[in-house]
Amino acid sequence: MSGSLDRLIQLAAKRYGVEAAGLRSEDDVFEKLGIDSFQAVELMSELELEFDVEIPDYELQGVRTFGQLAATIDKRR
């Protein structure tokens, strides 16, 4: 597991009260965390501040899994 993926999963799990051990790279972020689009917006702000990156919305089109999201963050670091 990459450093970003691990941090992403830890942060998301803590934020939305789910077990980090139950989250895998290939899991769908929305479905696994049980979040709606408003919560996803908040999560994006928290991730950007945590990783000190900017992730334009259009780069998130097609991003569904924790692994894809971590890879998108890594490209911006």
Partner: protein, 259 residues
């Protein structure tokens, strides 16, 4: 619950409480008009605007109501109805913008489209770290129509305005503060306390000095507002908006449709 307001010691607090995220349609517009009619600007020195909606400050225009209005009205009634709404929302935004007192907006979560335009009427913005600002209108085939472009251009560089409008991307509180849009960034849940402190400071100032300074430093960009309104009304008549709204309204994806 929709909008509510209380005034105490010269500070009025306007609470946006319409779930899920303070969508601005005819109901919210009427409440804003009633609030402004009842606001005693002689006895009020500061206004704090905040949201209790879980989703954030405001998700902007009520797209479902807009879509239903477009598909349910005969073609010859659509433009007058839209123009009436836009004229009324412009009057509300302009009045909020020019209030002779210090206005402080507290932003958390979503601050998109018309909600962003409402925030831009405030003199000072306090953003919690969850805040996210966006003008997604081009993704719907229109441009912001509540006066947001001239107000944003008044506050930040033209390059920032272009970036936000022409990409439709959202920015976080840190980026918004770096751009000069937000004056304070605070931890989640701390925005209201910070805004109340700003408001208390305003109550210490001479009313005439405060109102004069605001009038001098924050002129209403009337010509640009009228121009934006004309552009919006033209673009909103095209099929592109209706088609984009249809996809948005009919989508049951957890990730709402936006190009």
């Amino acid at each position: 619950m929709g909008l509510s307001w209380t005034t105490d010691d010269g500070i009025c607090e306007l609470v946006l409480g319409r779930e899920p995220c303070n969508e601005i349609g005819t109901a919210m517009l009427a409440e804003l008009e009633r609030f402004l009619a009842e606001l005693d600007t002689e006895r009020t020195r500061a206004l704090v605007v905040y949201s209790t909606a879980r989703g954030g400050f405001s998700a902007g225009a009520d797209l479902r109501e807009l879509y239903n209005g477009l598909v349910s009205r005969p073609a010859d009634e659509q433009e007058p109805a839209l123009r009436d709404f836009i004229d009324r929302i412009h009057r509300v935004m302009d009045t909020l913008d020019m209030l002779p007192l210090t206005t402080v907006g507290v932003i958390h979560g979503v601050c998109f489209g018309g909600g962003f335009e409402l925030a831009l009427t405030c003199d000072v913005l306090v953003a919690e770290k969850t805040a996210r600002f966006c003008f997604p209108e081009l993704r719907l085939g229109i441009l912001p129509g509540f006066g947001g472009i001239p107000r944003l251009r008044r506050d930040v560089s033209n390059a920032v305005v272009r970036d936000l409008l022409l990409t439709g991307r959202s920015i976080n509180a840190k980026k918004a503060m770096a751009a000069g849009l937000v004056s304070q960034m605070v931890a989640p849940g701390e925005g209201l306390a910070a805004a109340r402190a700003v408001a208390r400071q305003a109550t210490k100032f001479d009313a005439d000095a405060l109102a004069t300074t605001k009038r001098f430093m924050k002129p209403l960009p009337r010509e640009a507002l009228a121009e934006e309104k004309a552009h919006f009304l033209r673009l909103a008549q095209r099929p592109a908006l209706r088609e984009a709204l249809r996809k948005f309204v009919e989508s049951d994806d957890l990730r709402p449709y936006l190009p």
